[in-house]
Symmetry: C2
Subunit: 183 residues, 2 copies
Amino acid sequence: MKGYLWQATPSNDVHPAKLLHWESVAIDAVGNVIEFWGFKRNQGRVWALLYLRDVAHTAAEIEKELDLSKGGVSMLLRDLERWGVVLRVRTPGDSCWRYQAETDLLHMARRVIEEREFSFIARIRADLEEARKLAEADASTGKAQIQRLKRMETLADATEKALKLFLKTSRLDVGGMFDVFRG
Amino acid sequence: MKGYLWQATPSNDVHPAKLLHWESVAIDAVGNVIEFWGFKRNQGRVWALLYLRDVAHTAAEIEKELDLSKGGVSMLLRDLERWGVVLRVRTPGDSCWRYQAETDLLHMARRVIEEREFSFIARIRADLEEARKLAEADASTGKAQIQRLKRMETLADATEKALKLFLKTSRLDVGGMFDVFRG
DNA sequence: CATGCAGTTCAAAACGGCTTGAACTATATG
DNA sequence: CATATAGTTCAAGCCGTTTTGAACTGCATG
């Protein structure tokens, strides 16, 4: 959840490798959702390219199609592979790796978010609790202020609860997508 | 939902106006949650200061307490006022405005997110739909690709559904907080 | 083992959002 | 009306994140 003022791929750009127009529209759309989920736009774009094409591509091909740098592609693929949404395969005769899309994105988004966000919220709650304890220890603190600190803790609680429900929901919602994304 | 590697207010900083240590811990914690919700960290900090102190402050005071710039405070207050979480009051005798916290933050967070996110998701869905239509119009598109484009639309659907539930939940969760945050 | 291409690394550049601060406008006061 | 102080605006600067590209490593092949 951040600022969402992305550029809308107004047209086939100047250096297009061979991406069809509709491909780039779809690929960028996926890039935007995934960015919304807190990942890099280009992680989503790489995955989307591989998923749409349904053919294992080499890093060099991805680089040309999406107009990214060699180093960038390498790092993006490493992330996607680590998260299990892209598979690195070596066709028997061929001497270099090819990459292909694997499983759906939300599956991985959930996992990553789960691990990332909860420690985040836990930290906030810990800070608020610490603040309250310090305030309580300080004789000059008014009763009402302690009240307000406690109420702020509810803010963290509510956020955590909401986040939990969010993840649980996306698990259920996506239940049907589990298979939907294969083939 | 973005990267959450914030600095933990390790100690009373160098130029503190007169913020107590526990105050700054709490204020920063609120800044962090609110940033998580997609707002500016300092919007949360300003609100938190006013809420914790429960006394109307002048812009100059806020500026000193939180070590912000004059211009920054002006803009932050404008946003908070627009969202209805901070009230601008003028005490009879006094010649300058004072600001005080009003209602809880989640109330406003929900409203703003609601309006912001849905147009965001709508846009993504529209792009995916457009891509699919273009692909369908192109004779060279394979059947399987159209399938995959449709499946990508489920990604937007699932995201939207999850978001809706998220907001609804936060509404329920916060139901009890509605009053909790007053006085 | 020399050559060349695939893949990795990382310092530096590019980018984007946030904040600053100086110039400006508005408003109160004598 | 002159002056002072509060509040606003916005171009420029700052800062964190992402991307680039050149140097490097590793591996396959002749």
